[in-house]
Amino acid sequence: MRFPEVGTVLEQVLIEDLTRTQIVQYAGASGDFNPLHTDATYATQVAGFPGVFAHGMLTMGMTGRLLTDAFGAEAVHHFGGRFLAQVWPGDTLTARAEIVSVADAVATLDVTTTNQDGVEVFRGRGVVAVS
């Protein structure tokens, strides 16, 4: 981003129609094999959910792309946030970030990820280097 200004809004679709296979990919890559995410028999019969759901960190990891695509893969100083609602197979997720301050070559953004129903699934903050 050449001229980051307070109030600039970035938006990006992170995933359309999230697959159970992508959740499996994330489990395998991250090493988090919690059966809530990987095992429909456990998730339904033991934990009482309608099925498996995504790792919160899969949503957060995907959300990070909004920052690295816009500012560069080496620009992130801080990225953090809260998991607000579960993400299910079939979900379409959109991330939105608004620059709330720019100072000393650093921009701070409020970041939010919503699903296809407009439900906020992740809310957080990014701090990135800007030129």
Partner: protein, 149 residues
Amino acid sequence: MPSFPVEALHVRTFARALGDANPAFDHVAPPTFTMAAAQADPDFPLRPAIGEKWYGSGRTATGYGPEDVDPAAGVLYAEQHFDFARPVRIGDELTPTQRPGRTWEKDGRRGGRLAFFELVTEFRDAAGHLVVTGTLVGVRTSKQPGVQE
């Protein structure tokens, strides 16, 4: 804890799982990649341990009996934060050290108390420099007697 090598194919596998084909991840890791340090933890509880019971399903819906404790029971993952001194690069050998962080409490929406706790993991490189700090926020619920779910 043993060190966590930042390896090219692992980073690429992780990036694929995020649906991110950014070629920059041939050189640096995506911001949340240090979650995968779990792979280097010999005792990570959310991975089946060879030769031991696993609480996921096999012949039965859970391999655990009534006397076994689900490692994730009663704790929800509330937040995750990363603070970077520099980007994590392929070729880094990171050594994690963990310590408890802050704790605090709030009233739950459905009664009872929510007990929040931080787990802070600092990753240092081979030169001993702090590269990234990951802060996990978990929450344990405790319900007041008589309050219905």
